[in-house]
């Protein structure tokens, strides 16, 4: 079902990771991504992964969630790793007919899989522990300097906030409309490609109609509350950073250094 999509979903909880300043979380996630892409050996990748494990443990989330977020990207992982296995040259490990599997191919795809998984894990942890509103707020704050160049930072952030806010609503709506049409005997799971495309019409049209209605209502509600852009607008909850945020950032940088030292050591040796 559509409801099983967990990417980008927020799970409110009371944990150290949830409490971190969102701006720091974004930076730390970026540091983590740098870590996994600069790591050049399984040992340093392991160290980067350890960082993730620590962060995840501190977030008190159930490990099942990470497995669930992995589901939609399994095809991508399989596809890229299979491509790598077959098309990278190196010493042949074994060969069936014309298909040759090389050691380099295996190693590269191994790295690829680990990196992809780590990438999804890291970004999922960010969205699982940060509410979308706070997240866009943080992005807005971090992009503020661009505003001086007449870049519409606030408008962009507002658009993102609204889009994020309505993803679950639209999913729910789609689910409801699908149920309603199924109850009227609509058949969506069988038939030829064209028949299935046609079967989408009874879902897409009501969805559009209701999206437009929602957009209109939202615009009206915003105007009623005197919304007129970002100028002079203050925040009810402004982001504040404290000691623990800096500590977390330092920890991530330490791990990054660790990763780099391991790899440099390998090069020197």
């Amino acid at each position: 079902m559509l409801k099983d999509i967990t990417i980008g979903q927020y799970f409110p909880m009371d944990s150290a990771v949830h409490k971190l300043d969102a701006r720091f979380k974004i930076v730390i996630t970026a540091v983590f991504i740098v870590m996994i892409f600069s790591a050049d050996s399984f040992l340093s990748l392991g160290l980067a992964f350890l960082f993730f494990v620590i962060a995840f443990a501190a977030s008190k989330l159930s490990p099942k969630l990470i497995l669930k977020s992995m589901k939609p990207i399994i095809p991508i992982i399989i596809f890229t790793s299979v491509l790598n296995i077959f098309f990278i040259d190196g010493v042949t490990v074994f060969q069936i007919w014309k298909i040759r599997i090389t050691d380099n191919g295996l190693i590269t795809s191994g790295y690829m899989i680990i990196r992809l998984i780590a990438l999804i894990c890291g970004s999922s942890l960010l969205t699982y522990t940060t509410s979308p509103i706070v997240l866009t707020d943080a992005i807005e704050q971090m992009m503020k300097p661009l505003g001086k160049l007449h870049f519409p930072v606030h408008e962009l952030a507002m658009m993102m906030t609204i889009a994020l806010r309505f993803i679950p609503t639209l999913i729910e709506e789609t689910d409801k409309i699908m149920s309603a049409q199924k109850a009227r005997g609509a058949d969506m799971d069988s038939g030829t490609l064209i028949e299935r495309a046609k079967a989408l019409v009874p879902i897409i049209i009501p969805l559009f109609v209701s999206s437009f209605r929602r957009a209109e209502e939202l615009a009206l509600a915003m105007e009623c509350r005197c919304y007129n852009g970002g100028e002079g607008r203050t925040k009810l909850k402004s982001l504040v950073s404290g000691g623990s945020d800096y500590a977390a950032l330092c920890l991530s940088l330490l791990f990054l250094c660790g990763v780099m030292i391991i790899d440099m050591g390998r090069v020197v040796l």
Binding site: K3, K64, A183, G185, A186, V201, P206, V209
Partner: protein, 292 residues
């Protein structure tokens, strides 16, 4: 044999996440054919979740649902057949309308059933007449209709499939009193004319009391009681204790009894109340009230 039967039916949303929520908990229920069942319960008591099981839109987390004797989970059952047998009208059904004309929208269900043109035409016209959609409206775009008219078109879309069981989830939500009356009357007419089983989910005890032959009261995912209206309203205090209100007239009788007047407590329509009071007054040697 009962048309709908549940055994220890339990449904949990988002199982395995922090949002886990058991919406229906161990429900045992038997609904006989031809019954008009009113379903009431507080917001979030699991009414909508319960009724979605009856046409196989959701599958029980545990327990069984038998429609006309067949388990909806067994392998050789086609869910589509169940859905043709049990028609479900969702809350705010007008949001599912999509065709260019009212006629085509009502015809969507019958067409999916694979009926021939003539039969479809007959059913569309018959059903439109039943819900008070005049023939000239059939050619109009459904998006030009008023809210109440749209609602009726959407309900007609399901009625036109002539399901053995018609389930409606709060069909009168957001309508004015007149619109509510009309729609309830039409549902009653459908029940009487087709002899089908009807389940009506509602927040209004008054509405349910007037039409239902049986009332199902849900509380926190469990069945509080399932009985005939007099038997249900005789338990007025219990019902009030879970935050539901019994009809005004039942409340008045409850207060009278509290004052020591020996009068029956299972009164739930104004007509019956009048009769009861007259009987009481006559029995006590005083003149009756005039008929309203």
């Amino acid at each position: 044999m009962s048309i709908i039967k549940t055994e220890k039916l339990t449904y949990t949303y988002s199982q395995g996440t922090p949002f886990e929520k058991t919406a229906v908990n161990s429900v045992d229920l038997e609904i006989e054919e031809g019954e008009f069942v009113g379903v009431i319960g507080h917001t979030g008591s699991g009414k909508s979740t319960l009724i979605q099981h009856f046409n196989g839109l959701i599958k029980p987390t545990s327990g069984r649902v038998l429609i006309d004797g067949t388990d909806i989970r067994s392998k050789d059952v086609k869910l589509r057949d169940i859905r043709l047998k049990v028609g479900l009208v969702f809350q705010y059904p007008e949001y599912q309308i999509f065709e260019e004309t009212v006629y085509k929208d009502i015809a969507f269900g019958p067409k999916n059933m694979g009926l021939d043109e003539k039969e479809i035409d007959r059913r569309v016209r018959e059903t439109a007449e039943l819900v008070g959609i005049s023939p000239e409206l059939l050619k109009k775009s459904p998006f030009e209709l008023s809210g109440g008219q749209k609602r009726r078109v959407a309900i007609a879309g399901v009625m036109a499939m002539r399901p053995k069981v018609l389930i409606l989830d709060e069909p009168t939500a957001g309508l004015d009193p007149r619109g509510r009356e009309t729609i309830l009357g039409q549902i009653k007419r459908y029940h009487d004319e087709t002899k089908s089983t009807v389940m009506l989910v509602s927040h209004s005890m008054e509405d349910v009391a007037r039409f239902a032959s049986r009332i199902l009261v849900m509380n926190k995912g469990e069945v509080l009681c399932y009985d005939t209206p007099p038997a249900v309203f005789a338990r007025a205090e219990e019902i009030a204790s879970v935050g539901l209100s019994v009809p005004q007239i039942t409340k008045i009788f409850g207060l009278l009894r509290k004052r020591g007047i020996d009068i029956r407590g299972d009164v739930y329509t104004v007509e019956f109340a009048l009769k009861t009071i007259n009987e009481y007054l006559e029995a006590h040697g005083r003149g009756g009230l005039e008929n309203a």
